[in-house]
Symmetry: C2
Subunit: 277 residues, 2 copies
């Protein structure tokens, strides 16, 4: 049922937010020295920098730039708010192109009190509005379905099935899915929808961390792989059965883990990757 054990770090990617106290040069140097092969770059890390030079710096460290985080947040109560979001997503796509990242991950957005149906329509409309930028640059977009506990204000797309539906609706080779075990592990349809995502050619990314019991913060209490209840090797097996050969991306938001010595933390990440992904 589970995937074969990971015997090397060739497919290990780490999100910059995972070790967010490190600036991008520090993260690149530390990741590279530890044998990490991929990096997903959060946009705040290159604000105020020469983006093309930043991309070269990362590649000089032998790091593959897997994606940038994040675009999205398309829903808005007014047309003006929605246009602001579209403009920001166009900037995100341009930045990814300049950086040399093939993909922008989307946290799609939601507006408290606005119906989820309206938000979903605004998300699809927003993605459609920026597709010409994707076609011009080759940059792809990864719809990340977020856990239902974020349906009020962060994403009206809460299951992989919905993300797959949206990909089929948009019918673009530039639109796919970023599948994160934290958001999806509970879903009784997960295996089926992962297979479907592969069949429609939309499985762009795979993110890992763990769900702690108890979880004490809605945003920043994720666990390192092995600290929680998610059967990550089983889900990785489903993802690989669906044809995915990309990076396994470690994306952890945790006040607890951010507070520890980050060199020690990086060692733990690598050990957890070997043992629990």
């Amino acid at each position: 049922m589970s995937a074969a054990p990971l015997t090397d770090l060739d497919r290990l990617c780490i999100h910059t937010i995972t070790t967010k106290s490190w600036d991008l040069e520090t993260a690149a140097a530390k990741f590279s020295a530890a044998g990490v092969k991929g990096i997903t770059v959060w946009r705040d890390t290159y604000a105020d920098r020469d983006i093309a030079a930043t991309g070269r710096m990362l590649r000089d460290h032998d790091l593959s730039i897997v994606s940038t985080c994040r675009g999205g947040f398309f829903p808005g109560a007014t047309a003006s708010a929605r246009q602001t979001a579209i403009d920001d997503n166009r900037r995100a796509i341009a930045e990814a192109h300049e950086l040399g990242a093939p993909l922008v991950v989307l946290v799609c957005g939601a507006v408290p009190g606005q119906s989820l149906e309206d938000s979903r329509k605004q998300i699809a409309d927003g993605i459609a509005a920026v597709l010409p930028d994707c076609e011009a640059t080759g940059v792809k977009l990864g719809i990340e379905p977020l856990h239902p506990m974020y349906a009020d204000s962060r994403s009206a797309v809460n299951t992989l099935g919905q993300a797959n539906d949206m990909c089929e609706q948009l019918k673009s080779p530039h639109v796919g899915v970023a599948a994160d075990v934290y958001h999806l592990w509970w879903d009784p349809n997960l295996q089926t929808e992962i297979a479907r995502c592969g069949e429609i050619g939309a499985l762009f990314s795979f993110h890992v961390c763990d769900w702690r019991s108890p979880t004490i913060d809605f945003l920043n209490d994720r666990g390192l792989m092995g600290e929680g209840c998610i059967n990550i090797p089983q889900i990785r097996g489903w993802v690989e059965d669906a044809g995915f050969t990309g990076f396994n991306e470690v994306e952890v938001f945790s006040h607890r883990l951010w507070a520890m010595d980050q060199d020690e933390y990086l060692k733990q990440i690598i050990q957890a990757y070997r043992d629990h992904v």
Copy 2:
């Protein structure tokens, strides 16, 4: 799309935990004086009491006993743990019968690290094991699908679709669903599954509260109806379209609301019921 406005309190039920600092006599007297017609009794409130006399006391206050909370927690790592849960559920059924409650609400349970598939099988097996008690007493069981954020340790049944599947699998007139807007509001299949639940004769209960933005506690930060993002009249409309004519049960866990003057809180509950259910 929405249900017709509620013009009276004939279908208003309040869970004892909503005003948990009141003992059962106080809650009964206050609810009744305010015109509330139904009460759902949490089991802790009648521990150490004469249960039959407690039921008479509630009926003497013109309160319909809608259900008791809660049975369930069937999954366990060992056969002994699972038998302990079955024994407790048999006690819950016997208590409900003695109290005069037609229904026991089930929080089905989950074990961190045990697969959700195993937990779901243990839940179905546990319910099947206590069905003879239901048949002997007439007491029914309401499977309450819990929000996916509780999938680790509280319930491996996280969507109305799963609860409906389990009802169809168990094929008993004594097994149905307790549908709570807090757990279900985000589900893109909600309207369809409510209709299906009605068609299979399994829609036993309807619970209301609201989802606040932000929510700051995983258990005890529910909102009073109108304080959050859930379109309760829309969901009530779906429930009534499915043939449901029972009580609208106010079940709120909130450190914030428990800390206020509870007489004032009861007034707010009734106003919120009129305005936002």
